[in-house]
Symmetry: C2
Subunit: 419 residues, 2 copies
């Protein structure tokens, strides 16, 4: 078969710029145009006819991506008290760009001077200490990719009717970054623990002085005094200059703007571990200190509000994660849970980290219900919604991790359903 | 031993904000202050006394990190022709924030409308085709974390005298991202290859119409038509809306703003594979199509221009990578290469990806020369500078990957040396 264009003519026919090149493009596309499935340009696009923008010190997204933002819900009378969601349905891979990491603030984002900021460690320690950021930078650090998820993420799932909103606006209080910092264990060893130290009361330097209590075992396990996020120093809204990262544990325990760690025998019984971030069970008792985020998954594409252009092959793409370790398996159903098929997991599959799963799906054009179901390395299987509600009732508010169902209608529109 | 503060007093003594809290802090720190090694504040810092900034749609770095930028070197008469370096010595972990990914542009950053942009595949294919961005999004994608390094990165190493500049300003034409896109093999299979197709000529839609030739084997191996970088759509300066990613291959082949792929029997012999991006050898012959970036490493901290505050324990942190696969080992020397010690590698250790290595170093205060040496999974060992020069001479300009040496003087200052 004769090639459309003789490759031998290329080197002389394509100068790297100039009018000759435009003539070639026009001629070239005229030759091949008949076989092209899309549009053909007679002239080069405007951005090929003039020099582009200069280099820059710090890059920003394309103006065409202006709609890809954190959706903010805040108290109009206290605009620093609220949340913003990561637009999971617009993103890919497992890294959340720092500018789109979800937020939950209690009294706004403090503008902290890192030269002044200090971390005080006191209470049941042998030697109370205060560390500047430069002091902490002297300690050996470690990096790990892991998710942070708000305990209240996805809590619209407790509603009687399925909420119709983009996937990120329901499940986007979860984001995943590469965090780098000093293992908390190193600093605690430096200070020395008294034998009766059992809890760590961590407090932020925001105007809410947000505080929570952490069992000492977690502090000595994989807790990180994070200084860097996705390569650069923490973003202000993610705790600059110092954040406590507790891989796999609910977001509220990952204290931002960390300035105080008190070793204690008992928890502080702070607002956010009593009045909030506890789950009232059908028995009338409440779960407290329900730190770990259990395995969860959701299909981000296609998802509620999106639309399939027509029958045929469509990529299914989604995220799975577990606070107990690595994701072992993600299954996908296109018939509302009657049959399941294993999705492929993009490497790396890391513990307590977002895992991207994918499955190509051939849609025949008839109504379908898509679901995903995650299993983690402990064998825990993400529950169906009715199972979760039977166990926990309807007033838990936090720790909703049930299977998410998206209905695809015959016209290709996708909506949230309980199925 | 009696705790400094009775933990039982905490819940009532620390309301989440207000004047009581300030009294407590003052009292609390007065109790523990004697044992604290750093400064103690009598009053809370200003950012704890007033509400912070509201939530935001898209976050930015702290104003205190204003100095962490890409250093730009461009032609004043053509500001879109130049480079900008990733400040590697200011970063941590393996992910480069997209705003700090290095740049190399030939005629500026085109502002491309993704609704108009098309990828044309033509030449020795069965069916010439044109794909819009929405068309490409219909194909199954995959994500991978990998580095992109300019073939000219670190070329100041060929200079007779060691260049004194921050590590990133010499070696920062290398960055690492999570890229997501459609495997190029998928699209080529869709178009069908003619039997005599051996090369792929890839061209960008910038005003330079930058083009290079890629052997078909690479195109069918792990080449990616990248649409996303670090979770979000590509940044303009990194090829928005479409970039060719060739994991492990020199940056110039990772064509940005990709709009044309021509299958051919011979390479195009374009400017950037003949006059540029070839290496003149001592024999008078030149290496051409030297695509793979060989194993390299460098210590980013401490590094040239930084200063150690005094003798004692200091963390050594650095980056290693290889275009041939995973890093197997990084050794560090503190005596100019006489003795070596294995550094720890932070997981994940991924093929063709930055790998973060670390080693705590006890500095005795006497002059020292720090080096790092990477070995990749093929057994290739990063060469000493004199070995590289003996093999390649002094006029190669590209593909400089020799061991980097930092001298620590008795006063703690760090400089670049050939040692």
């Amino acid at each position: 078969m004769k090639p459309f264009i003789e490759p031998e003519t290329l080197p002389s026919a394509i100068p790297s710029s100039g009018p000759d090149r435009r003539r070639f493009l026009k001629a070239g596309l005229a030759v091949t145009g008949a076989a092209l499935t899309g549009g053909v340009r007679a002239a080069p696009p405007p951005w090929m006819t003039r020099p582009g923008a200069p280099l820059s010190n710090y890059g920003q997204p394309s103006p065409h991506e202006r709609a890809v933002i954190r959706w903010v819900a805040a108290n109009p009378d206290a605009p620093g008290n609220g949340i913003s969601w990561t637009p999971l349905e617009r993103l890919e891979g497992i890294i959340t760009p720092s500018g789109l990491h979800f937020e939950r603030h209690h009294n706004g984002v403090p503008q902290i001077d890192p030269a002044v900021h200090r971390l005080v460690v006191h209470g049941l320690v042998v030697k109370s200490s205060s560390f500047g950021i430069d002091d902490l930078l002297r300690y050996p650090q470690t990096s790990r990719q892991c998710f942070v998820e708000c305990g209240g993420n996805g809590n619209a799932g407790w509603h009687l009717e399925p909420m119709q909103a983009p996937a990120g606006n329901v499940h986007g209080l979860a984001s995943c970054s590469e965090w780098t910092g000093v293992p908390l264990a190193t600093v605690l060893e430096e200070c020395g623990l008294q034998p009766n130290a059992k809890w760590l009361i961590a407090e932020g330097a925001d105007a809410a002085a947000m505080n929570v209590s952490i069992p000492l075992e977690k502090a000595l396990d994989d807790a990180l005094l994070a200084l860097y996020q996705n390569g650069e120093r923490l973003r202000p809204e993610n705790g600059y200059p110092l954040r406590l990262i507790l891989p796999g544990w609910e977001g509220v325990t990952n204290v931002k703007w960390l300035h105080r760690l008190q070793l204690a025998e008992q928890p502080a019984m702070a607002r956010n571990e009593t009045a909030k971030y506890t789950e009232l069970l059908p028995s009338g008792q409440a779960r407290q200190f329900s730190f770990v985020m259990e395995a969860k998954s959701l299909i981000t594409r296609p998802s509620a509000g999106q639309s399939l252009p027509g029958p045929g092959l469509h990529p299914i793409s989604g995220l799975a994660w577990s606070g107990r370790g690595a994701i072992r398996r993600v299954e996908v159903s296109a018939d509302g849970g009657k049959t399941w098929q294993d999705a492929a997991l993009d490497p790396p599959v890391l513990p307590k980290c977002f895992t991207r799963f994918r499955l190509p799906w051939r849609w025949d054009g008839s109504p379908a219900v898509l679901k995903s179901r995650a299993t983690d390395e402990t064998g825990y299987v993400q529950p169906e919604r009715q199972t979760l509600i039977a166990e926990r009732g309807r007033h838990g508010y936090f720790h909703y991790n049930a299977i998410v169902s998206w209905a695809v209608a015959a016209d290709g529109s996708v909506s949230h359903v309980y199925a």
